[in-house]
């Protein structure tokens, strides 16, 4: 490893935070319908809202059609499971590289379905974006995690590589 201690900590913190974000988004969708602790029903989650409401940019038509397609239930399920698996992977540092690829795929899709081309503040968003939005930034952060192979710094991947290493040694001797 060539990174300094601080660099390592920064990378693992970033991975854990991104992982938590995915994990919670997946968990939230999994438990719905649910109620907030203040007593407000949160209803059942479906990607249809995002696909219909937020979708914008050049591919909006395609995603609008997805929202009305009979596969919507399966899309919902895949997104939910995808978020949970990616979240677990990044938080635990298990199959980290695959988790990073999954994260980038999901974020890429979220980005493509709603590319901010207008530059105006969108309904439901807390700011105004032009081309670059938080999905893209998070994807770029995951790209950095992917490039630095954070699984070899901390996480369950270490156990896997160690076991492989031990086995390789045994074979070598």
């Amino acid at each position: 490893m060539t990174e300094s201690r601080l660099q390592q900590v920064a990378l693992v913190v970033l991975r854990t935070l991104v992982g938590w974000h995915f994990l919670y988004e997946g968990y939230y969708k999994a438990i719905a319908p649910a109620w907030s602790r203040e007593g407000v029903p949160l209803g059942r989650w479906s990607s249809a809202g995002y696909l219909k409401g937020a979708a914008a940019g050049p591919f909006a038509g395609l995603f609008h059609r997805l929202a009305d397609s009979p596969w919507l239930d399966k899309i919902d399920l895949l997104v939910m499971i995808g978020l949970l698996l990616v979240g677990l992977s990044l938080v635990l540092g298990l199959f980290t590289q695959a988790g990073c690829v999954g994260a980038m795929l999901l974020l890429g899709m979220f980005y493509l379905s709603a590319i901010p081309t207008s530059g105006a503040a969108q309904a439901g968003a807390e700011g105004a974006y032009l081309i670059v939005n938080k999905n893209m930034i998070e994807a770029a952060a995951v790209l950095a995690l992917f490039a630095f192979r954070t699984g070899r710094i901390a996480g369950l991947d270490l156990l896997l590589t160690r076991r492989v290493a031990v086995r390789t040694e045994a074979v070598a001797s």
């Binding site: 939230y28 438990i31 602790r37 203040e38 007593g39």
Partner: protein, 428 residues
């Protein structure tokens, strides 16, 4: 309480100013504890009793909070009307029952809303709780103290939620009045409250039986009139005290932080003597609270001029809560207000004739006009049902609950006894 438009405007402004200074910290406190959502969809509910009040609650039941799966009433025409209410709300139709026990057996319910004649409250509410259902039961709690105690004990024993339908607890005006004025001591020492509910009519419902061969005796009502006009007969009802006073006494208990220690009463059937009715049409009751505080309740069925309000008179100010929609605050020494009180106490005409809202009331329109504070009294019912569902799902505290409801019920039942004997009764 007859106020000129100018006085109403002043009172409204005073009220809003006073309640605006109370910070809404509750929301911040709740947010401080980071806790995720709780799994679960709308609460699965059955309605028992779909007369006027049951249908009001049904109409204010939001589908996101509660899924109404079953409706139960002995009168099929009431069920049909309830179907219409649900269609209006946009809720899918619910199954019909005429027997609440059958409904509990066949339906997978978590909670029931009970809006039956008073005499049935204790039996049905206790039975539902014993069957594991949470209960939102209309006021008054029960017909007699034994019934109240049975309901309270069953709630404790079964660990089920029991809320009694005093919608003022869920009315933002009353909440603001308590938090911003009563609790802050804005009124000074309050020795007297005036609770008043005046109407002009026989209180009799007119309705045809659902079919010529409809036999209500199966359910304990010798004639159809006994079923429809149960409020007028002692066997089923505790009269005006239960149906009207108990609302206002419930608030007085809340605002005074106490329950009456004794009650004096007078009243009788004075006007509707030719009607088939047993409960008084005029009641005058004095509720004695600890520390020299007194609430006087009057309800008459011969004049609707004053309609209904609660007034709290303190050493520093007066608070008037009118028609569940409006609130006025006046400080002592405010000359305008002193004039108005004097005038209304004497019942003088000219001032009130000049008041537009008075005319509106007399014309039978809801007390909420364009000049009010914008509170729809039905919203309180909506909050009541929604918050009850939230209590079932995430344990949101009930705003009234059986203990408080019992305080009001015992006082009103004792008031009827005092009235019957025209004497003073100590409340145990």
């Amino acid at each position: 309480m007859n106020l000129t438009p100018e006085e109403q405007e002043l009172g409204r402004r005073n009220f809003l100013k006073a309640v605006a200074t109370t910070p809404a910290l509750a929301a911040l406190g709740a947010a401080a504890a980071a806790r995720g959502p709780v799994r679960g969809g709308p609460v699965r509910v059955g309605y028992i009793g779909l007369g006027g009040q049951g249908r009001v609650l049904l109409g204010e039941t939001e589908p996101a909070f509660a899924q109404v799966r079953a409706l139960c009433d002995v009168n099929p025409s009431r069920l049909k009307k309830a179907d219409d209410v649900m269609a209006k709300v946009g809720a899918p139709p619910a199954k019909h029952y005429d027997d609440w026990k059958a409904m509990l057996q066949k339906e997978d319910l978590e909670a029931v809303v009970i809006a039956l004649p008073l005499w049935m409250h204790a039996e049905v509410a206790a039975g539902c709780m014993e069957a594991g259902k949470h209960v939102l039961c209309e006021k008054m709690m029960a017909w007699d103290p034994e019934g109240c105690r049975r309901m309270l004990e069953t709630a404790k024993k079964t660990g089920r939620l029991l809320e009694i339908g005093y919608q003022r607890n869920y009315n933002p005006i009353y909440q603001a009045a308590y938090d911003g004025i009563i609790k802050q001591g804005v009124l000074g020492d309050v020795f007297h409250a005036r609770l008043l509910w005046h109407r002009n009519g026989p209180w009799r419902r007119k309705e045809d039986p659902p079919s010529p061969d409809f036999d209500p005796s199966r359910w304990g009502y010798p004639t159809f009139d006994h079923l429809i006009n149960w409020r007028l007969y002692w066997k089923y009802s505790q009269g005006l005290l239960a149906e009207l006073a108990s609302h206002q006494v419930n608030v007085a208990n809340w605002f005074f932080g106490a329950t009456p220690a004794a009650v004096l009463g007078s009243g009788g059937v004075y006007r509707w003597t030719n009607e088939a009715r047993e409960v008084p049409d005029h009641v005058y009751v004095v509720f004695e609270y600890p520390q020299g505080r007194t609430a006087v309740f009057t309800s008459i069925e011969s004049n609707a001029y004053d309609h209904y309000y609660e007034a709290y008179f303190g050493t520093k100010g007066s608070l008037i809560l009118r028609g569940e929609t409006e609130a006025y605050l006046f400080s002592e020494g405010d000359e305008k207000k002193a004039t108005s009180l004097e005038v209304s106490a004497k019942g003088a005409g000219p001032v009130t004739e000049a008041s537009e809202s008075r005319v509106a009331d007399a014309a039978g329109r809801a007390a909420s006009g364009s000049r009010n504070q914008g509170v729809d009294r039905l919203l309180a019912y909506r909050s009541e049902v929604s918050e009850f569902c939230a209590a079932v799902r995430v344990g949101k505290p009930l705003r009234c609950g059986p203990e408080k409801a019992m305080g009001s019920a015992l006082a009103c039942i004792a008031a009827n006894q005092a009235m019957e004997k025209k004497s003073r009764i100590t409340i145990a």
